[in-house]
Amino acid sequence: MTKIISPDGHIGTLDYLKSIWASRHLAITLAKGEVKNQSSMNITGIFLNIIQSLIGLAIYWIVFGVAIGINTGEIPYPVFVLPGIFIWHYFSAITGYCSNCFLLSQNLIDKLYFPRICIPISKVLLGLVDFTIGFILFVILFICFGQTFTINWLAFPLIFIMIIICVSSIGLFISFISLFSMDTTRIAAQLTNFLIFITPVFYPDTIIPENFKFILYINPVAGIIEYARWSLLGTPLPDFKYLIGIAFTICLAIAVFFIFKKYEKRITDLM
């Protein structure tokens, strides 16, 4: 097995895919290590995530469900809002994690070679813990509020894949940008604070006037939340224009893969 290391650092697409696949255990182990590290540092441990989700849900319910009285049809407001909350939390958490993941792993990157893409991927996996807790909480509420399971639930695995693609592509892109600018973390945090209002997290898209809906169509998270509601709650099938945002994330995912492939060997020097 002879290997040549040269300044161009070219890696073939297939070889790069193979190296990522070979490093999957590393990405999983990094995520697991961080979960254990985080949960052992907090007295509340993993329950903190559940508490956070419940508090968020209670606030949205009081403000939007009770005070403003947003109409969610026959679906109780907490059940309606929860898929939006856990999908949005996943997106915003990954945006945050990825915006400084290389900086926080600098010592590791500087001392050991492994496909650098594993670092943001491990953050995507790390976020799945909260996502899973949110989903379980949703199923409990779904049953408690007497909702019935429909055949649309079978489509959820496909939507879950869409969620992973969307979150990964945006997370990886932000992680790459963070190599060049120190402000990425703060900008990403501000953007997610703002974007939540133009994403149908705590309201249905029906309340948005038709001439402003294009904002939702180009927002990939909006499309995913609407499709998730269709699958889990039986809301009407979302407008096909939501596929614009989803198509955008698929293109971004492909672009990000090739960006990482190109810069793979140079990431240590870019930091």
């Binding site: 290391i5 600018s181 240590t268």
Partner: protein, 384 residues
């Protein structure tokens, strides 16, 4: 590349930039003047060799290892590698402080490319080598630095690879740990592994290394194969250390004095290094000096903690000399087989150290009986 070569390096360079001013908008400092951390080096390392790389801080030795380990990319040149590389550029890399030693074995193992099943097969061996099984379920943040290193090193030496890169693995840790490191490196070599060790204490590896490389300002200043003789007679049992290497070790406390040791060699009639303590030893230092006051040249025999266990001195009178040989003779039967190191001090008349050459040569002896001590005094035990 020939089949016997493990690593072939051709015209390798690495350029870095000196940061001049940091920008509030950029993570990187503005590109300043470029400098070559590694400057056009070529080198072949054979399979099964232990190569000890030494040199000043910033001389480029760690950068070379980083390029071989693919951590950073060369700016020019090429490295051809035959075999799987395991790079240990820092001990305990990626350990999570809050989780137990046991869990960190899996975490660290995964970073070095070991699968969970592979780690499970080796877990008992790793814990055994760690030496503190009762602490294996304790979070590593409660470990002493020695325990931390022992655990990390135990994982590292269980990685199966053809080429191992070690950067300053002995910079921390006690004597026992250092002995363990050299022993494990010898064991890896016995499996025909190729090993590159970057160190500031080359004396520790003098017994096991096949080649010494000294880096200076990004270039290889000395590359020397070491042939340990096996013929009986008065021979040079340890390698001559070059002027450059000795200059690296030199610590100047008073820069008004001109005194250089340009060569050190240890002569013995011992058949091999294992039996060096059985025979008379001569330590020959070649010196250049130009002094206006007489000084004392002190040779010290030190334990591995640096404590002086014996010493001898000679007065060097005012004047100048070039390539003058000064010999210190240690008769047989006084030193017990042990790990000792030799150092030199140049002292003024008030016994103040002007120049030091600490820890030039060490004689690792892995089988030292801790109860035997260093010096063989004619102490008699009797019973009444």
């Amino acid at each position: 590349m020939s089949p016997e070569t493990a690593i072939s390096i051709r015209n390798l360079s690495k350029e870095y930039y000196r940061a001049e001013k940091s920008s509030p908008f950029s993570r990187k400092a503005n590109k300043g003047t470029g400098f070559l951390a590694v400057n056009n080096i070529s080198l072949d390392i054979k399979k099964g060799e232990i190569v000890c790389i030494t040199g000043h801080n910033g001389s480029g030795k760690s950068t070379l290892l980083k390029m071989i380990a693919e951590v950073t990319q060369p700016t020019a040149g090429e490295i051809e590698i035959d075999g799987k590389v395991a790079s240990i550029l820092e001990i305990g890399i990626g350990f999570q402080p809050e989780i137990s030693g046991y869990e960190n074995i899996f975490l660290s193992g995964a970073m070095y490319g070991l699968k969970k099943s592979e780690i499970e097969k080796k877990i008992d061996k790793i814990i055994d080598m760690f030496g503190f099984p009762e602490f294996i379920n304790t979070p590593v943040k409660y470990y002493s630095s020695g325990m931390y290193m022992r655990l990390a090193f135990s994982i590292i030496v269980n990685i199966e690879a053809d080429i191992y890169l070690f950067d300053e693995v002995t910079s921390v840790g006690d004597t026992e740990f250092r002995t363990k490191v050299t022993r494990e490196i010898s064991r890896l070599k016995s499996n025909n592994a190729t090993i590159l060790v970057v160190t500031h204490t080359p004396a520790l590896f003098s017994r096991i290394s096949d080649k010494f490389i000294i880096f200076d300002k990004g270039r290889i200043s000395v590359s020397k194969s070491i042939d340990v003789p096996n013929n009986i007679g008065k021979v040079n049992a340890l390698p001559h250390f070059s002027e450059d290497h000795l200059a690296n070790l030199k610590e100047i406390h008073d820069d008004t004095i001109s005194f250089d040791i340009t060569d050190i060699c240890l002569k013995t009639s011992a058949i091999d290094l294992e039996r060096i303590f059985d025979e008379k030893m001569e330590i020959c230092a070649t010196v250049n000096y130009d002094i206006d006051k007489s000084v004392l040249m002190l040779m010290t025999i030190n334990d591995m903690l640096g404590n002086i266990i014996a010493s001898s001195s000679i007065e060097i009178k005012t004047g100048s000399a070039t390539s003058k040989e000064i010999t210190f003779e240690i008769p047989s039967g006084y030193l017990k087989p042990s790990t000792i190191s030799l150092g030199f001090e140049i002292l003024n008349s008030e016994k103040k150290s002007l120049i030091s050459y600490p820890n030039i040569i060490s004689t690792p002896n892995d089988n030292k009986d801790k109860w035997s001590g260093y010096i063989d005094l004619p102490i008699r035990a009797s019973e009444k």
